[in-house]
Amino acid sequence: MGAVWVYAEVTPEGPHPAALELLTKARRIGEDVAAVALGPGAGAAADELGRYGAATVYASEDPVFADHPGRPAAHVLASLTADHAPSLILFAGTYGSRDVAGRLQARTGSTLMANATDVLAPDRARTEIFGGTKIVDVTLAGPEPRLVLVRPKATAAEPSGGTATVVAVAVDVPADARGARIVERHEEAASGPNLDEARVVISGGRGLGGPDAFAMLDELATTVGGAVGASRAAVDAGWVPYAYQIGQTGKTVKPDVYLAVGISGALQHITGMKGAKRIVAINKDADAPIMKIADVGVIGDLFSFIPALTQEVRRRAAS
């Protein structure tokens, strides 16, 4: 049986936390675990990758991987794969890793499974469908290496205390295989992402009682890198502009997480957000219609809950 590899996203700040989770998982299903780290910071990251279970780290500091998304990494990963024949490669479910995994699949002609919630063996993985109500076990067949994209936080990262041998990777990405080039990078911490594209949306409704409470939601949004929206009631009351409105006659959003704060959940609002992957509702009223579609309904006072949540998120992000 071949090795289990983890494609680790790295930056000068260190490895992506998901990589550490994936290594933890990899250790449990395979004896021979390695990581592939491509881009500036790879060398420095190797120590930590080793501590979490990678016996070998195939590394390259070449800036080509940071400047050109996806294509060069897939190219190099393809040749590493051809040379070392791992059985399974685990990827984090991020934009960047998906690009690499997708391209790699074309080269290896092997199977790719996305949105895995657990990996049980080099040839078995698990996922959820139908809004998480059904668990599906999947057997991976066909040529190796099998490729699996794993959902973040599917496993808790645990160090094993090992050290990794760093193997420098020769990078020979031909000019025409570099692909698109990143020209500028923008962070939108201050203004927040666009409501349509935000992965987290925090919406306020009538329960906020006035425009001032939206500042509380803004703070939480900034902390999680999300966007603030509103129900029609809040917009009609003049607390926030129409651009914030989510619903039948406003925007339709499909974030990964939707927090409905002080929103009762009238039908016309629900139609604008029911596609969210996870819905959390915070409301005084346990019978509010929104509770019927919420994955988690928090009953209580939003004015104390939201600041508490903001604090907790800050605490976790810092640690």
Binding site: P69, G70, A74, T94, Y95, R98, D99, G102, R103, Q105, A106, T111, L112, M113, A114, R124, F130, G132, T133, K134, I135, V136, D137, V138, T139, L140, G142, P152, A180, R181, V183, R185, H186, E188, L195, E197, V200, G225, V253, K254, D256, V257, I282, A286, M291, I293, A294, D295, V296, G297, V298, I299, G300, S304, F305, A308, L309, V313, R316, A317
Partner: protein, 253 residues
Amino acid sequence: MNVTALVKYVPEPQGTPTLGHDNLLIRSGVDGALDPGDEYGLELALQLAEASGGQVHVVSMGPDEAMAAVQRALAMGAASGLLVTDPKLRGADALVTARVLAAAIARTPADLIVAGAESTDGYTGTVPVTVAEMLGIDSVTAVRRLEAVADGFRIERQTEAGYDVIACPSPAVVTVTAGATEPRYPSLKGIMAAKSKPVERVDAADLGVTDLAATQSVTQVTDSPAKAGGEIVQAGDEAVAKIADLLAEAGVI
């Protein structure tokens, strides 16, 4: 500029999906529609083609009913379509789908190929990139803005932190995020005109795709214990922790 748009026919996006006895999603014989997520890319394609005097060609793979998705795209303004439909393709995984789509796309030259960011029923999100590799061209995913420029495209790509500006040569494959455009509503004139637009129907053999072997199989499906419905918790420290966990799980913290 000629653009090819990939569209998928998905079962009623709001209905209760069902699995067949072979544990595959039942796609044919159920009411369905053009995947709303694909409409954003299709709209971008139409705008680009209109601005440059080019055309939009749509490509889709699915059961017979999927023709409805192609027709809708034509009604919105696409000029021609191609539907790959073949019983042997039922349950095709991402790799087979990519092979088929790559072969289908290759039949019609295009400067840009657009797709939705992820399908409403599959959520894989990798097929367009695999297609790009198979075609040997560039790709940018999670696109929220795209302009044609002298040597290709200037693209704004959504990232976790904000967005990147990317210079991408032509031809390329891009996936477009929800909300990047406001999809147009087809007029009746558009619907009528759609009927006389050329649409090709091919199967896997026509495209020369023969390796259709499934590489994943579902071994079992069980009910998830925790997710029978939503859960209600009282506000307090536990609730705070629970929501923070949920946010972490979503990869947000």
